[in-house]
Structure formats: C-alpha cells, structure tokens
C-alpha cells in the first residue's frame, strides 16, 4: 500500500514539475569517426555534444553512447543491434551516409526505437518506406540539388552535370533535373571514390557548356575542384553544399572561391540560436562548424525539447513532442512535413574568404518552406 501511494505521489510530482523530473533518455550515436569520411562524422558528433552542453540542466538526463561505423554498412548494423539489445538505447542517431542509413533505419524503427537522422535522407525513407518513428532533421537527399537546379534557371541555358555512380549520386542529378529547365550538354556518372577527373574535365572543356553542376562529396569534391581550377577551364561551377562545406574548404583552397552552392544553413544565418551555435562551437573546438555540425546540433536540441515534454518510454507522446519540433533551430524556422521530413528554406551560398579562412555566405534564397517530392508516397498523415 505504501508503495502504491509513493508511486502515486511520484507520478503527481512528475506531472506537476515536468522537465525537472524528466526520465533518463539514452541516445545511441552511430557515426563515421575513422577512414576517409571521418571529418563529417566528427563534425556531427561534436555538434550534437555541444548542443547537450549548451542545454545545461535540461540535458542532464540525456546519456549518449557513441560508436564508429567506419563508413561500413555491415558494421553499422552490428553496432545498431548491440545498442538496441545490450545498451538498451531509446533513440538512435548519427549516421552520415545514405547506404548505411538504409541498412540500419528500417530494422531499428521496426523494433520500436526512434531514429533521428542528422544527415542522410535517402528517398525510400521519405516515401514508400517512411515510418512514424523515423524523423529526418537534416533534409531529403534531393533537396539541395533541386535548389541548385532552380538557381541555375536564372543564369544558365546549357549545363554539364556529373555525380558518382551510386544511389545518392543518381538522386542528386534527378533532383537537379527536376527543377532545371535548360539544356544538358553532358550527364556523366563517375566511379565512387574516383580521385582523378582529368578525363571528365577534358569533356567539360569540349562540351560548350555555360555552367557545370557537380555532386561529389568528401575527398572526391576536393580532388575535382582543385583539378578543375588547375585545368584553366573557366566555366562557372556550382554544386550542393556538401561539395563546399566547411570540412573540405580548407583542403580545396582558393580554387573554391566564388563557387555557388546550396544549403539549408550557413554560419551567417541571422538568428539568435545560430549566433550562439557558431560562437560556442568555435570556442569549444577551435574551428568553424560545417552543415553536418549544424544539423546534429539541431537534432540534439530537438531531443532535449521533446524530452522536456514527454517521457521517451511513452512512445506516442514522445513522437508527438518530436513532431512539434518546438526548438530554436540554427536554421531559423523548421517544421516537419507529414512524412517527418523537414519543411525549411534552402539558400544559395557563395564561397568567400574571411581573413585567411574560406567559408560560405548566403547570397539568395532558392526555396521558401521547401518540402521533398516523396511525401505523397508516404502513408503517414
């Protein structure tokens, strides 16, 4: 009898004081911390942890376990199983790459766990395979490319496009073509992980294009952009923000100056949350944050906000709290579409030099309140 009363009192206390007695939330972060793609994962992890630190007491009950997936799908699946079964996490997050997300997310959400994406947004998870427990806080893969296609309509008539031959690469060019109305002078799919682009650059030179759109994330983009600048071809280059994000700009060097690229975030976005994010990130880690860090920072803040409203053990209430997206996004406004993917503005940015440091500055807005093209195929309402 005593126990029942105690439990009743405890429940009463909780419902009255809310966040202060929030239940512990255990987050499993699977991300890429070694190998060629480690820069992206490290930025995501650092952004996530920074948000929890900045949240102070509100995040005191949030515990994070982090593991390195080495950019290998089979390893990511093993880690996810281990985190769900032995660590008993409530929420999974952190995956950078779409092929890894496709390997992990469907089984994790089928086991009743929440998955919050800090980066990858493959089209099946936005459309036919969407799930009520899968929230994408970053973007759907096509979004940034769609924005560049829209932007290219202003100035260009003949564009040469290229991307690596893998799902996100074909998604990229599909996204670009969805909004681009001009003519394509070439459409080239390169090998994934290719590092020498001399043959493709020679074709661009000979194609008579008035612009080039390329999606080559990580080291591929560094190699391409340097070689493009060195080759003396002066056709304007554009791409999604991934190819010109803060993590690769230093290695590309001045070759990137003036390049237009699209993104949902830039460090000069004028809002309070963003100012605090950029300032504390620099103070904590001694470098400028990338878009991956910004998305992970938002993801962590979303978890903090939802945990303050509902217990993660009450899946329905917690899901509703997530869906409200009641947090101060570094992207300014942010809300979820019916398929749990973002409705957000997408900007065109230009690479500039601030002192010695290359970074991005917003020059225009490509889309306002942009939604992805797959929401209609999703059964969620």
């Amino acid at each position: 009898m005593k126990k029942v009363i105690a439990a009743g009192l405890a429940a009463l206390a909780m419902s009255v004081s809310g966040a202060a007695f929030a239940e512990p939330v255990k987050v499993g972060m699977i991300t890429t911390l070694s190998g060629g793609g480690a820069g992206l994962g490290i930025d995501a992890r650092d952004g996530f942890m920074l948000a929890l630190k900045n949240a102070g007491d509100a995040a005191s009950e949030i515990e994070v376990v982090t593991e390195d997936d080495g950019q290998k799908p089979e390893l990511a699946v093993q880690i996810a199983d281990k985190m769900i079964q032995s660590d008993q996490v409530d929420i999974l997050t952190g995956i950078i790459w779409s092929n890894l997300a496709m390997a992990v997310v469907p089984s994790a959400v089928a086991q009743g766990k929440f998955y919050l994406s800090v980066n990858a947004g493959p089209s099946p998870l936005a459309g036919s395979q969407c799930n009520e427990n899968y929230f994408n806080v970053a973007y759907q893969n096509d979004n940034f490319h769609e924005a560049m296609g829209q932007y290219a309509n202003q100035d260009y008539k003949k564009t040469f496009i290229l991307a690596p031959n893998y799902p996100a690469g074909t998604d990229a060019l599909t996204g670009f073509k969805r909004f681009y109305k001009g003519e394509l002078t070439g459409e080239v799919y390169t090998q994934l992980g290719q590092t020498d682009y001399a043959a493709e650059i020679a074709q661009i030179r000979a194609s008579g294009a008035d612009s080039v759109f390329m999606f080559l994330p990580g080291g591929m983009g560094i190699a391409f952009t340097k070689q493009y600048a060195q080759s003396g071809v002066d056709i304007p280059l554009m791409g999604p923000g991934f190819s010109f994000s803060q993590d690769v700009l230093g290695a590309i060097g001045d070759a990137a100056l003036g390049v237009k690229n699209s993104g949902s975030w830039a460090k000069d976005l004028d809002n309070e949350a963003n100012a605090k994010f950029v300032e504390t990130f620099q103070a904590e880690y001694g470098r400028l944050p990338s878009v991956y860090a910004a998305q992970a920072y938002d993801t962590a803040n979303l978890i903090v906000a939802a945990a303050g409203k509902a217990s993660v053990k009450d899946a329905d209430a917690f899901r509703a709290a997530l869906k409200e997206a009641d947090f101060d996004s570094v992207r300014g406004k942010f809300s979820f579409n019916t398929n749990n993917h973002p409705i957000q503005d997408i900007y065109v940015r230009e690479v500039i030099k601030e002192g010695d440091v290359l970074t991005n500055k917003i020059v225009s807005t490509a889309f306002t309140d942009h939604k992805d093209a797959y929401a209609a195929e999703c059964s969620l309402q």
Binding site: S34, T195, D196, Q230, G232, D247
Partner: protein, 306 residues
C-alpha cells in the same frame, strides 16, 4: 575540336599510367626481390603525401615538401622493414597479407592521430601552374606534363640502376637466388632494407605529386593500391618492364573507357542512361582487360620468372 579532345585524353591516360607506374614499380620490386606481398604500400603513398603537405604548409615551398615526402616515405619504409617486414620473409603469403594489412590500420590511425581527420591542403607549385598549347588547338596542364616527365625519368633511372650498377646487380641476383648471394657474402639484410626503402620512396613521390592534384587525406592510398596490384598482375609480378607497360595500359584503358564508352552507348540510348551504363562499364573495363590478359597469358605480359 574532337582531335584536340582525343589528344588531351591520351595525355591524361599517360599521366595516370606513369603515376601508377611509380606505385607499381616499388610493389613489384619488393615482390620480385623479397617475395613479399606488401599491402601497406598504399600507406607509404599516404605518408609521402602528408609529409609533402605538412612541410609545404609550414615552409611555403612545394619543393621542400617533395624532398620531405621522399625522405619520410623512405624512412617509414626502412623502419617498417626493420621492425615488421623482416620477420615475414620466411613465412607464407597469408601471414604477410595479414601483417601488412595491420600496418595499413596502424599507419592510417597514426596519421589521423598526428594530423586530424580533416583533409590537408596542398597546391601545385607556382612554377608548374598554368597550361601549355597542345596540337589540335587545345591546352594542357603543365603540371600533368611534368608528372609524365618525372615518370619517364624514374623509369629510365630504374632501368639504369638495375642494369648498370652494383646495387642493381645484387637486386637481380637476389631475385634469382636469395640463399646464394647471401652465401657469397652480400649483406642480404641491408640489401632488403634498401630495396624496401627505395620502393617506399617511389610510392611517397607518387603520393606527393598526386596530393597536389587530389585531396591529401587518410585512406587515400588504398584505391591506388588496388590499381597498382592490377598493374603488376597484368605486367607480370616481379618485372619492372611489365609494371611500366601494365601501368600505361591501365592508365590509357581507364581514361579512354571513361571518355568513349558513354559516347558509344549514347548511339543507341538516351544520354542519361548512356551515362549510367557507360560509366558503370568503364569502371569495370580495366578488370575485364586484366581477366582477358590472364586468360591468354596467366603469368602476365612479362613474367619475371619462367
């Protein structure tokens, strides 16, 4: 314009070829003399690139960086030989593969520990920036021509070293009969260390030169290592001449495949599909060539031993 594009692509193929030759020469030399399969050769390429980027970043001189890349890769090679590889000569290839694979992991994580996870910046030196006119009316990048020049110089140098010098004589003797030259009083341990360091220095040189074109990052060596293995398998394991011919063959096949196959498929497909299918077949092309050559000549084109 089409002729100019064609000439440019042939030059691109040659440039890729000589770069692969620098990698494959060391790999095949080490296999030919010591009978060792060195998976960590790609890591030495990475060491060269990081040394060049770090020194060039600190001093502002690419040339000092280039010298540092040779020194660092040779030193890393010699150190690895003395500490690890020396114990593996008598063991079978599976043990060697296992140990050198471990070296890849150690060198990669060691480099990350020293330089961090973000790619480093390395640009081509001012002297070699810009382009030069080529026949057909187009222009070609001076730096890539310089790489072709360095590759040819290294090929000639290696030929002279092996056919005309005492060290070369010992290397050839070591290829034919290890025990015998040991019995004749040649210090075989030092010879092995020198050969290993030489191979490593060539890989480091390739890494530094390519680092200025591409991105200097952890893991950059492994894709090149795979191509270098294709080259020595095509050329005949242990043969420097085979490595040269194989490297040029792979370089030209890969470049021309990427250039011509999508156009070929474009004749009977829409451009988007032709790009996808052509690109996919182009990425398989060198492996198809390798399979055909191995079917006809299982020893490779210029097998070192009969």
């Amino acid at each position: 314009m089409q002729t100019a594009l064609f000439i440019e692509q042939i030059l691109n193929g040659l440039q890729l070829g000589v770069m692969l030759f620098l990698m494959a020469a060391g790999l095949t030399l080490i296999f030919g003399v010591m009978g060792l399969i060195n998976l960590a050769h790609g890591s030495l390429y990475m060491v060269g690139a990081f040394a060049c980027a770090a020194v060039a970043g600190a001093t502002g001189s690419f040339w000092l960086g280039l010298a540092a890349s040779l020194a660092a890769a040779a030193a890393a090679g010699a150190l690895v030989e003395i500490l690890v590889i020396r114990r593996l000569y008598e063991r079978d290839h599976l043990d060697q593969v296992l140990a050198t694979f471990a070296l890849i992991l150690i060198l990669s994580e060691g480099t990350r520990w020293l330089f961090g996870s973000f790619p480093l910046y390395l640009d081509i030196p001012p002297l070699l920036q810009g382009t030069v006119p080529i026949p057909g009316g187009s222009r070609y990048q001076l730096y890539r021509l310089a790489i072709i020049g360095v590759g040819v110089a290294v090929a000639v140098g290696l030929f002279l070293l092996i056919s005309r010098t005492r060290l070369g004589m010992r290397i050839r003797a070591g290829e034919s009969d290890r025990e015998m030259i040991g019995a004749l009083g040649v210090d075989i341990r030092t010879l092995y260390t020198v050969v290993f360091a030489l191979g490593a220095a060539l890989a480091g040189l390739a890494g530094a030169m390519v680092g200025a074109l591409q991105s200097v990052q952890v893991g950059m060596g492994e894709p090149v290592l795979i191509l270098a293995f294709v080259v020595i398998v095509i050329g005949g394991i242990g043969s420097i001449k085979g490595a040269l011919v194989g490297a040029l063959l792979v370089g030209l096949t890969d470049t021309m495949g990427r250039f011509l196959l999508p156009q070929l498929f474009g004749v009977f497909m829409d451009p988007s599909r032709a790009g996808l299918v052509g690109g996919a077949v182009a990425s398989m092309l060198i492996y198809i060539v390798m399979a055909v050559i191995l079917a006809v000549r299982p020893q490779g084109l210029f097998a070192a031993k009969g």
